[in-house]
């Protein structure tokens, strides 16, 4: 394949990746959020695959394979298995900030991401120039999504999206030292196991996963 076509397809994956982040911010249903996460993970592994092909990097290939195995199959399976009931409910997740406001903030986040990466990425090869700002924007958007969601599972899905975003920038910039990326990819699975266990314990002991409703712990000033 032509290298410019690889760059092009990677850019396509990046644009779609960013769009899934926006859609995630606007989505109110847990099941929909999960499928967005899976699609985003697919885009992430597509980007990793393209770069593995372009740079002849076995490590990146492995990262792509692990990403698909963990984030497309294992993590959704694990979440559905341990928290199936939460996914079945069609009710809407409570959001602290209205969706249009959140979307405006997402614009700000993307602007910041592009503004910050511009001077760095202009000196870097083309893969990094595309992936770094998109990953950074995804990072900021996911942190924001995490902050405005008040239930356990959506918060956790935001965290997984955050992981995706960090990796999306990561596959491009760390293509030279990919050994540790494999460690980090595997760690994502451990994180999921532990958080899924914790969520299940919470819903068993307390009967809800709306952590925003658990008002036991409050900041001192707001009492």
């Amino acid at each position: 394949m032509q290298i410019s076509l690889l760059y092009g397809l990677n850019a396509l994956a990046a644009a779609l990746f960013l769009m899934t982040a926006f859609l995630f911010l606007a989505s109110r249903q847990t099941a929909g959020s999960l499928s967005l996460f899976v699609r985003q993970a697919l885009l992430l592994s597509a980007s990793a695959l393209l770069q593995a092909y372009a740079l002849h990097s076995l490590d990146l290939l492995l990262v792509a394979v692990i990403t698909v195995a963990a984030k497309v199959f294992l993590i959704p399976w694990m979440l559905r298995r341990s928290l199936g009931g939460t996914f079945q409910s069609r009710r809407e997740v409570e959001l602290a900030v209205s969706v249009p406001t959140s979307l405006v903030i997402a614009i700000g986040a993307s602007l910041v991401a592009y503004f910050v990466s511009q001077p760095i990425a202009s000196q870097m090869p083309s893969f990094v120039a595309v992936n770094l700002p998109v990953g950074l924007a995804g990072l900021l958007i996911s942190v924001y999504a995490l902050a405005v969601r008040r239930e356990a599972l959506p918060q956790f899905l935001s965290l997984l999206m955050l992981d995706n975003a960090a990796f999306f920038a990561g596959v491009a910039i760390a293509s030279t030292s990919a050994l540790w990326e494999i460690i980090a990819a595997l760690e994502g699975i451990i994180v999921t196991i532990i958080v899924a266990l914790l969520t299940r314990t919470i819903s068993e002991r307390i009967g809800t996963t709306q952590v925003g409703q658990l008002a036991g712990l409050r900041e001192e000033g707001s009492r």
């Binding site: 965290l159 992981d163 960090a166 030292s177 658990l214």
Partner: protein, 480 residues
């Protein structure tokens, strides 16, 4: 090579806890592993004092002056926490031996992950270890399985994993810069510091922000501290001591480790940023301290305050770094003492509400005296060690010419002092209902508290030459 034993010993103890034997096997194994680790840490400290660094596996495992300081602190607290847990956890779980073994399994794994951070020489692996400390301590935080405990564990997990994920991008950027600057260099802290002047300043700046925010979350720096009072108050007391005493300090170590890298950025006021972030945390924590209703949360806010003080101190330059690192040690020791004493009060009264504990002096003179001593120690009163370090910090700031910042810092410290002493004074003195828990404290709890008091007192009066040498070397290393 002997340094490798430090993380391996608690792993061995963790394996022993898996054996379904009487609980004292698990307790004993944990304590023995901690004591042996402390021995190795002391030995390593002496070696580092002689030669400057110890290498177990080149480019992978080793220790220098900065990391051995932390290792010592971790090992001391591991010993006291293991001792304290002996009687405390037995009281907490009752006859549920499986649950007690589970506790010791988690505790040993958590200690392993803590030990790993200072001795790993590669930033990427250190990041993995930092993430492991969160993952392995989540269930310790939620150990009492109450709604509040689980909520605290949830906040702790989500926010600190979020922070670590942000930080990982910063570390990746640094590694990218390292490969650009010197392609064949090993990916170690030392190589990173060496190659920093050749990296792009923009890249370093972005990495700085990501790492400061990411790891700052786990240190509990101000706007991202919200999880800390929850987690550090809901966990069982020995775990609180480890979380507040060393875990946050260990993550702060990772930020400090990278200071030579940030100092290489031209026209970038790294020290200004550290002072700003530090002062903000000190101020916020000091005023929140005035409003607490829960004595363990009070100690947790005091941790936020102390992390801010250390960060500010490091911003003052080399003398400040010396004092700041000393504060890292003294705070860890004093805070563990405070949490142990608070745990004793909790055993007596079965409540964490300050308003329900009155007249502690009459109910239990020992815990009252220890709580008062701990409060004085963390508030920075002579002759305790924190006074010495805080005094040195303020002096180093004045010498470096930061008059206004020192004045603000002193004001905040005074506010925090008032907050802590007001609350503890109410608990210790006065009239109140008799405690509704058991009046007799377990022997190991008494032992662990007394043992923790010793270094807090000794270091306030006398700095051992080895410690002085290590602190000097470390402060020189991070403030090049």
């Amino acid at each position: 090579m002997i340094l490798l034993l430090v993380p391996l010993l608690p792993i061995a103890a963790a394996l022993i806890t898996l054996v379904p034997a009487k609980p004292f096997v698990a307790r004993g194994a944990t304590l023995a592993a901690a004591v042996l680790s402390l021995g190795i840490a002391v030995w390593t400290a002496q070696q580092v004092g002689l030669s400057g660094a110890v290498t177990a596996l080149p480019h992978w495992v080793g220790s220098d002056s900065l990391s051995v300081l932390l290792l010592l602190l971790q090992a001391v607290l591991a010993v006291t926490a293991a001792l304290y847990s002996w009687g405390y956890i037995a009281r907490e779980v009752g006859a549920d031996e499986a649950r007690e073994r589970r506790y010791y399994l988690d505790l040993n794994l958590f200690i392993t992950s803590l030990f790993l951070i200072p001795i790993l020489l590669q930033p990427a692996l250190t990041w993995v270890a930092v993430e492991l400390t969160t993952l392995l301590s989540v269930f310790l935080v939620g150990f009492n399985r109450s709604a509040e405990g689980l909520e605290a564990a949830w906040k702790y997990a989500i926010l600190t994993i979020m922070g670590a994920t942000v930080a990982v991008l910063g570390i990746l950027l640094l590694l990218y810069g390292l490969h650009g600057a010197s392609p064949s260099a090993p990916e170690t802290w030392a190589a990173l510091s060496g190659a920093a002047p050749k990296m792009s300043p923009n890249l370093l700046r972005l990495a700085f922000v990501l790492i400061l925010v990411g790891f700052g979350t786990k240190v509990g720096l101000f706007p991202l501290h919200t999880w800390l009072p929850d987690a550090h108050s809901q966990a069982p007391s020995p775990i609180c001591a480890l979380l507040s005493g060393v875990e946050v300090g260990t993550v702060l170590y990772v930020i400090l480790r990278l200071l030579p890298v940030w100092s290489a950025i031209p026209h970038f006021p790294v020290h200004g940023w550290l002072i700003a972030f530090g002062l903000l945390s000190v101020g916020a924590a000091a005023f929140l301290l005035l409003q607490v209703h829960d004595f363990k949360r009070m100690l947790a806010y005091s941790t936020v305050e102390h992390m801010g003080i250390i960060l500010t101190a490091v911003g003052f330059g080399q003398a400040g770094s010396y004092a700041g690192l000393y504060q890292l040690i003294t705070h860890g020791l004093a805070k563990s003492l405070a949490f142990y004493a608070a745990g004793a009060v909790l055993l007596l009264y079965r409540t964490r509400a300050i308003s329900e504990v009155r007249g502690l002096l009459r109910a239990s003179p020992f815990s009252a005296a220890m709580l008062l001593a701990a409060a004085l120690a963390i508030a920075g009163v002579p002759p305790f060690a924190v006074f010495l370090s805080e005094f040195s910090i303020l002096r180093s700031g004045l010498v470096a010419g930061y008059d206004w910042i020192v004045a603000l810092l002193a004001l905040f410290i005074a506010v925090a002092f008032i907050g802590v002493m007001m609350q503890v004074g109410r608990m210790v003195f006065g009239e109140g209902p008799a405690p509704n828990g058991s009046l007799r404290l377990p022997g190991s709890v008494v032992g662990a508290i007394s043992l923790s008091l010793l270094p807090v007192l000794i270091l306030g009066l006398y700095t051992p030459p080895l410690l002085h040498r290590l602190l000097t070397l470390a402060s020189l290393a991070i403030s090049r």
